[in-house]
Symmetry: D2
């Protein structure tokens, strides 16, 4: 739940759960400096979803948004271009039941990763952007997505910018991995930029995609030390390990319904 802060919010919610005999396993809340209240409550027991939701809503002041999410795997489609490392990380986790999601399909604008995907028995859709306008390409992808109706799209090193038109089909449901410590090195070739600037640390950022390039709410970041010996290519190689782990870490949070969005910031409870 989230909404304007008010006295008694925790009390009212926990009261409803208590009267229903439900057991709270974990409860985390946060009040922003702007007095916005966020709470995530993990509970177990038997209940009627709609009835509980109604009772909670009548107990709470207006303006509070409430969701009850059953603990279940999310359905996702993964977008890639040519680089394998993030995709492979997701495929291995999926194959060994460690992803908290089912990968319904992989979509790519190149076919180089088809052999990898086929090892894992997952549909691979090669939708080239060549000889297509950006709109035609995205429409082709949307037609393919319509088959799968995924809850989330994961951009696992998908190297093309998505239009605002496309993004609005999946509001706050597209997760991207960017190969820099945002907001440093927005845009193309961040490792080249990092090398030119002579940084001593490189990083990666997983974030929700909104209309502005590399500008959505950040979910997770991590970094790795480099030194003058690292060429831009070396940084890219070293960076792959950071990218794939940051993406996995962010997806774990998102797929377990632990991420709230507050303006351009993420609240992780």
């Amino acid at each position: 739940m989230d909404g304007p802060d008010n006295k008694g919010l925790i009390y009212h919610v926990t009261g409803v759960l208590f009267r229903h005999g439900l057991n709270i396993i974990r409860n985390d809340e946060y009040v922003s400096p702007s007095r916005q209240f966020f709470m995530r409550t993990e509970f177990e027991g038997n209940f009627d979803n709609e009835a509980l939701l109604n009772e909670l809503q009548t107990t709470l002041p207006p303006g509070i948004t409430l969701r009850i999410n059953p603990k279940k795997k999310k359905n996702i489609v993964v977008f890639v271009t040519k680089e394998h490392h993030c995709l492979a990380e997701l495929l291995i986790r999926y194959a060994f039941n460690e992803l908290d999601a089912d990968i319904l399909a992989v979509i790519s604008n190149y076919n180089v990763l088809q052999p990898l995907v086929s090892k894992f028995g997952i549909p691979f859709h090669y939708i080239s952007h060549e000889h297509k306008t950006r709109e035609e390409h995205e429409e082709a992808m949307l037609r393919t997505l319509a088959i799968y109706e995924p809850e989330y799209l994961v951009l696992a090193k998908y190297m093309r910018v998505l239009t605002a038109e496309f993004v609005k089909h999946y509001p706050n449901r597209i997760v991207n991995i960017h190969h820099s410590f945002l907001p440093a090195f927005i845009g193309a070739n961040p490792y080249r930029q990092a090398y030119e600037r002579g940084v001593k640390i490189i990083g990666a950022t997983a974030h929700f995609v909104n209309n502005d390039l590399d500008e959505g709410p950040i979910i997770a970041q991590n970094v790795k030390e480099v030194d003058h010996r690292h060429t831009a290519a070396d940084m890219a190689t070293e960076g792959k390990d950071v990218e794939k782990l940051v993406l996995s870490q962010a997806l774990k949070l998102v797929f377990n319904d632990r991420v709230f969005i507050h303006g351009n910031r993420s609240i992780v409870l």
Copy 2:
């Protein structure tokens, strides 16, 4: 508060606070695998401490331990031997009101740090251990402590082992910084041990002191990379920066009443 887990604990506590018109700023709880419940609630407003405590206690099932701590600086005494870096860190933070504690005095078994302490106008007690039995030495320190009645003792590189007899005067109120990543390298000369073992990372550990050497609940740890070029002395030099920051970080948690003790483990809420 902490005690055996039970349905409704959060509800009961937040209900009492709600009825008193008190506003919860932050609420964190944790249930251990052994079903022990811990909760730390930060709230603001006007109330009678004893009345509120009584009402909370009657609302809750037996076996729950409750404390209401006003937000205030702790009174501490710092123990040192010859090394300055942790002490200096505490003195500087204290001088600039960043310590969440008042340093009432410094006690040392050597007098080498007296000039540093005197710069900050804090009493320095040189209590040599020479020509004294361990018991005589500790009795002398206890007599000095009786002047100040500190709430916490901070061992900021105090290089002597305290007896169980001494420790029981300050149960869970002595914080030590050990210059290794415990439980690796318990005991003397941990950097020498680390060098001999050829580790690639060194660390420091802040922990509560109990009867067994280097065995109390860990509050905070941090690490730093080293390589084959680091001699034991180099590791000791590099390690100082880790030690002083880990100690400061741990004290910030302890002095803000954020640390619960559960067996030999710490719960930080």
Copy 3:
């Protein structure tokens, strides 16, 4: 090269290379506190391997050990038990030509990872330890290894102790990943031990295997923060990401001939 330190060692070696018209790309040297000299020189150009080695040896004082290693992939066999994460990391890197090694075969005392290995077209040998003495089991493995004649064995979460008899077939050529920050938590169930001790950081260690359990020269280590919420099982899950990256990082160093062994310590040049 390595051996007792002496004036002029760098001068003599670089002189020979200079007279042969060879170009030094990278040169790193280290002198230990015990006055042992280590140098790794990367150079390019055309030369006769044996002639160059002879000339270098006659130029240098006795007691210096010299090797000229061509830049080429190493041949390896991977040992596993039931856990997939380190093996999968190696397989993916191998499949995309990022391993600096060819995986000739995988040997396991269980058959659970056969489906994963078969996706990558690599021979999988299931050699159960059941109904065999330790010696019989190791002899069976040695017979299989004789087919492949690997230069290195990689224990990618192989959960059985190897005998000194077995190890001496591959002196300083067996790399193991141990799931703790050694020397903390030697032996079985390190995450359980870490949980019981209440540590705030977990780690993993890649090391050469010698006769003593978890005691060989450390090649690489890394760590990850945990808190009181992590059960031993959670630590094991989080630790997998550290383990697989530390192993990969160590293998990159070993397979590029960057690791010297000096007593129980590794020198990485």
Copy 4:
């Protein structure tokens, strides 16, 4: 030494040192992708500085820059504004002979840090910028610097931009600590910017000062994790520990003559 790469550079230099009976303790070299050669050689023994320099220069091809720096403490002046943490770190290290430099004086545009500096017996010059043009203010500071003739200026949270005119008096001899992970958050209020962007990691950067704000060669960087609970003020508090250690780490490298400048990048040997 540094200059265009050429075969035999290491050989020629080590040959001269060998013939002089000098013992190389440590030798590090680096060749950039643009074929620029850098080498730092630590050696011990008795020699005539000018004669050795001449002989080295005649042995080497033209275009190579050579310096022989005796191992000695640097003379520095520290600039501050109001924040104490970086200055205090330097003062404590200086007081305990851990700085590799002598602090000749502290200059500030406010007088708030005078009491701290006076504890350590170091001259404090309060040179207010009020009622002065930028040029007048800098001229006043240059007049004070003329008394001390420092080799390096350290900007330990000096919150005013220096003009190109001022900087050219100390080319590559001014070290600044910037409170962000550059190039993210250039300019004022980086923690405020970091908070607004919702980053999950904050950082600090020590760099040489050149004409462009926050744009000189980076010497060292480090980072610290934050989360949604950190306000901009909390980030500033947490960031102080990173800032002071990054500055100390960078100064240790600079004062030990380990940093070469190559365009806008630093080479640390």
